[in-house]
Symmetry: C2
Subunit: 210 residues, 2 copies
DNA sequence: CACTACCTAACATTATTATGCGATAGGCTA
DNA sequence: TAGCCTATCGCATAATAATGTTAGGTAGTG
């Protein structure tokens, strides 16, 4: 028997969800609340298996509720419910340990499947949400800032600077004179609009040039 | 009519998938291949809507195939098929622009739904895969390296170094003598096991101390 | 061909860093 | 209370880095 708590401010939806779930074999709604103001106490008292959490609620919203719950319980499965596949909320929900994220318009039968999946360790997501997640993921790795038009040689020098090499070491590593290293670095500083090694290194990291 | 290409080395599964999909209204398998050796030409020739791509194939594997396709076509939907929800592959697939990732044991009916979802811009995922993705996501933001036992004051100094401040500037910013700055920095270098500003800055970035 | 960008190199000067040694003072704790 | 850590400051010196200027050779482009 899967035991649930529901947090949803809209009375119709709250009632509807409760009836749907209670009318299904193997599911039981322990209680349903219209806000998260006492979410910690409630979770502690009811010890649910799965929590359905609306994102958009007056007072303590769903993300806040999620955080509060995760402070006292890292095991209970939390399924976020939302009307929109809004980028910011998806990100916040995920980074705060939500187990799934589904749109409210999900058909009842599918919703029950999702609850089941969440309980057994899955991470059910409406596919439009999943798209958001994938986009965030790939953008995380591909966000390269400007590359400042560094020439090949300049990039090599910068890379060595980042690795902590001194001018002397760079010169010997690249088989060029130390004065040439100076020239390159001067050019790099101009292009990056900096005027010290550490600034250049910092900029290299921030813009993922390295 | 959704037009598909299939890449799958196992003949039984390849035939099975083809028959399943061709036997379903609205779907048509244009062709099925046992490896990705000529994937670019094939995709250009057939112009499919969706590609089913096995991960584990001899020769060019599914991830390589994915990359090759993405070089010539960023629109076609690519659904990765795999036996295991293996962390590394999931990550690679996602960062290279896969549109979905499903286990081979997915029931046929569900697989057809997934294909449909992928075609309409969704990102279908088996929920165990989604769990992987969420874990990766939250770990990305929480991975802090060692903090090297820097004192409060030392962290402040390091932060300013990262911001490109010179000793002089740090001194005036922190209202202390430049020689004190020197002392702090010497201590920081000892703790980080480095011996130059740029190395310290690099280490700060790498270990997310800043 | 003139122009531009890049890589190379040298010389000179000043500024900044790195390092060593020493010292005072406050706070914590065994 | 003695011992330890942190934060503060000073002095001195050697090593590096930053900046300015100049310049030869190569390659590509309008």
């Amino acid at each position: 028997m899967t035991k649930l708590l529901i947090y949803e401010d809209n009375p119709q939806l709250r009632e509807g969800l409760t009836m749907l779930i209670n009318g299904s074999d193997g599911f039981e709604v322990l209680s349903a609340f219209k806000n998260c103001n006492n979410v910690e106490d409630e979770v502690r008292a009811f010890k649910p298996d799965v929590i359905l959490m609306d994102i958009d609620m007056p007072g303590t919203n769903g993300i806040e509720g999620l955080k509060k719950i995760r402070e006292i319980d890292t095991d209970v499965k939390i399924l976020m419910l939302t009307v929109f596949d809004d980028n910011k909320n998806v990100f916040d929900a995920i980074s705060n340990g939500a187990n799934g994220y589904v749109l409210k318009k999900t058909p009842p039968a599918r919703l029950l499947e999702y609850i089941q999946e969440a309980q057994t360790g899955g991470a059910p997501m409406t596919s439009s949400i999943a798209t958001q997640v994938l986009k965030m993921f790939s953008s995380l790795n591909n966000e390269k800032g400007e590359d400042y038009d560094l020439s090949e040689r300049e990039k090599q020098v910068l890379q060595l600077l980042v690795n902590g090499y001194s001018y002397k070491m760079i010169a010997s590593e690249m088989f060029i004179a130390i004065d040439t290293v100076r020239s390159h670095i001067k050019k790099i500083y101009e292009k990056l609009h900096v005027n010290s090694k550490s600034e250049a290194v910092a900029k290299a990291f921030r813009n993922k040039i390295v």
